[in-house]
Symmetry: C2
Subunit: 129 residues, 2 copies
């Protein structure tokens, strides 16, 4: 099947699939006589795998490691778990940072009357710290 079919089935875009190929995340697709990329069911499976992993916030680099483990029949599940746990930690830190920002902003927004007057606690805060 051609790339737009593969895109539709995998949930990725054609652009993204080409990008993954060019960046080495996936192997070069086989080509038709005219030079069109040609995908098999097995390829779609891989593409879906990547799509799912990206949805869970894994980096492309992580995806590459996960795919490699996926293909490795001798893998240790501990290696997979370690990648996932690292990722959970990263996510947790991001959440913490965002919640801190949000808390501060909400406090500031509450103090700002938000009308026609120039008086603004938000700008004051930005200006003073």
């Amino acid at each position: 099947m051609n790339i737009s079919k593969a895109a539709a089935l995998s949930g990725l875009t054609a652009k993204t699939i080409r990008y993954y190929e060019s960046s080495g995340l996936i192997a070069p697709a086989s080509r038709s006589a005219a030079g069109y990329r040609d995908y098999s069911e097995a390829d779609i499976h891989i593409l879906k795998f990547i799509h799912r992993a990206r949805d869970l916030g894994f980096s492309v680099k992580d995806c590459k490691a996960l795919l490699s483990l996926y293909h490795d029949r001798q893998r240790a599940s501990a290696d997979v778990k370690a990648i996932a746990e690292d990722h959970i930690n990263e996510i947790s830190h991001k959440i913490d940072a965002l919640q801190a920002m949000k808390g501060t902003l909400q406090t500031l927004v509450q103090k700002c009357h938000g009308d026609d007057r120039p008086d603004c606690p938000i700008l004051e805060d930005l200006s003073l710290k």
Copy 2:
């Protein structure tokens, strides 16, 4: 004062200050005879303002808008509040997305025994969806 002093006082790096100048976020600094950038206390104030806003997650574009409002004596606090509220919404969406990822990953990690064996619920999940 020169750029490294300005960097130290504002909490930004010299690289970042030059970048902000080149991208139009701040006005070009005045120069010494030798061509060195020269900063005043007022400049430091602006740089700190930006640093604080960036710490709160505002984009550089947002910072430009906030600075413009900051300089505008005729501003309506409602305009500032609107930018902040938009930003809070963005942050909230990011937090929601990250928490969803984290929840899913935690469930998967819990199911994975994480030992030498290849059997791995995490890879299974990535593979099946």
